[in-house]
């Protein structure tokens, strides 16, 4: 368990790739620099495309939490 407190949470469980990444991008778009967005996704594709995009966009992927049936990604907007 992480103790990171997100400023916003996007629940994209049930959405197929690239839905979760696009939901994350939408939330980051509306966030302030320094805000942390938590993305909940049960799509395996998120395990690769979220880190790739975070790096490309210069945002930091603080943590990936593996939960029972989904993952939680914590991304801080640069």
């Amino acid at each position: 368990m992480t103790d990171i407190e997100p400023d916003d949470t996007v629940d994209a469980r049930g959405a197929a790739c690239p839905g979760p990444l696009m939901d994350l991008i939408g939330a980051i778009r509306g966030a302030e620099p320094g805000d942390v967005v938590r993305l909940l996704s049960d799509s395996d594709g998120s395990l690769t495309d979220v880190p790739e995009w975070a790096e490309e966009a210069g945002n930091e992927l603080l943590a990936v939490e593996e939960l029972d049936d989904h993952n939680a990604f914590y991304v801080e907007k640069a």
């Binding site: 049930g14 959405a15 197929a16 790739c17 690239p18 839905g19 990444l21 696009m22 991008i25 980051i28 778009r29 495309d49 790739e52 995009w53 490309e56 966009a57 210069g58």
Partner: protein, 381 residues
């Protein structure tokens, strides 16, 4: 007691469904046991795929417009009005112009997509589109006179209508300038929000080599943040800036506000069971087409197939039988790969697409279907 079915939205999904119900429930409609009402905020039905051809001077917006009262069965009550509120607790709709609320026993939301270019600073002033009648005609004015420079096609909004159309546009632009001997003077750049050129990995894998062969520049992980109409630049959240002489965008999309206000889902998309198309947050409410958040493309074929499923389910509901019809994710798209060639894909929730080799025959099949679409709208094809 009369069962009242109300369909909100007279696009592909709503019109096909209204005509489907008129046919399927003919005995009940004749007996007065069922009423079907189709509500639309304007008198015309609009077939949007026509707009792809408008910028190239090959179609007119009027080719995609017909009066709803000519398309919809006389057994359907057609109401031209704008709904201001959906109250799913009391099962009532209220209207912009006031008047008495309309009660329903079953409601189908087919309100479709709207464009929201204002979400990106500078986009409305600096960009063009072919996702609206006015956008397509304004783009035509620019494109027909364009002889040299940089064209940028930027996919900004996802989900957006017709996910194939951005690929089609750059393939057509490439071919169109090539045929006219101008391609060497025109740079074409395609941008996409994720790490590949299309949301569906199978279509992306097919399209990317074609783009390379055709010298179409590609920028992936490009999420437009702003447009500077004076400097003619578009800048992404990822920090990339592109110069353009002609910017064509797929603007951000959203559904209509009253869906979120009714608590049925975010951004105007209704949260549904992706097989039954029943709303998750309310009883006796269905959604279809772009409005239903199923994860499948926002495409006319999807709305068409979903209308058949909802029609069957509503008929079962009305007749007191268990509703068994379900939507399997079926999607069908022709994809133009030039001015006289096209591919074709068909897929569903379980089976991925496998694009057919491009051919002239498929191009003509697409154009032929576009002409015969009016039979689909009438519920005949």
């Amino acid at each position: 007691m009369t069962e009242r079915i109300v369909v909100l939205g007279g696009g592909t999904g709503g019109s096909v469904l209204a005509n489907d119900l008129a046919d399927r429930l003919e005995p009940e409609l004749d007996a007065g046991d069922v009423e079907v009402t189709l509500i639309n905020d304007g008198p015309d039905h609009v077939y949007k795929p026509v707009w792809l051809y408008v910028p190239f001077g090959q179609r007119e917006p009027a080719d995609g417009r017909r009066a709803l009262d000519e398309l919809v069965d006389d057994a359907v009550d057609l109401r031209i009005d704008r709904v201001s509120e959906v109250d799913t607790d009391s099962q009532r709709l209220r209207f912009d112009g006031g008047g008495p609320p309309m009660e329903y026993d079953y409601l189908v939301l087919a309100t479709g997509s709207t464009l929201k270019p204002e979400q990106i600073p500078g986009l409305a002033e600096g960009g063009h589109d072919y996702y609206s009648e006015s956008g397509a005609t304004a783009l035509r004015e620019e494109l027909l006179e364009f002889t040299e420079g940089e064209i940028v096609l930027s996919v900004i909004g996802t989900p957006h209508m017709c996910p194939a159309a951005p690929l089609e546009f750059v393939f057509m632009v490439d071919d169109w300038f090539r045929e006219r001997g101008l391609r060497e003077d025109v740079e074409v750049t395609y941008t996409y929000p994720i790490q590949r050129v299309h949301g569906n990995p199978h279509i992306a894998e097919w399209a990317r080599p074609i783009m390379e062969e055709r010298d179409i520049n590609v920028e992936t992980f490009f999420n437009a943040e702003s447009v500077d109409p004076d400097a003619e630049t578009i800048t992404s959240m990822e920090g990339t800036e592109l110069d353009y002489d002609l910017l064509v965008s797929i603007p951000p999309h959203g559904g209509v506000d009253l869906i979120e206000e009714a608590g049925l889902g975010d951004d105007g998309w209704v949260d549904v069971d992706k097989h039954t198309l029943e709303a998750e947050a309310a009883e006796n409410v269905y959604a279809l087409g772009d409005t239903a958040d199923t994860g499948v493309p926002n495409a006319g074929s999807v709305a068409h197939y979903q209308a058949g499923v909802v029609g069957q389910r509503l008929a079962s509901d009305v007749r007191g039988r268990p509703a068994t019809a379900t939507y399997d994710g079926k999607t069908l798209c022709f994809i133009e790969t030039g001015m006289d060639s096209a591919s074709f894909v068909e897929f569903d929730y379980e089976n991925p697409p496998s694009p057919a080799p491009p051919s002239e025959k498929l191009h003509w099949s697409k154009l032929a279907y576009n002409e015969s679409y009016w039979l689909t709208a009438r519920g005949l094809l």
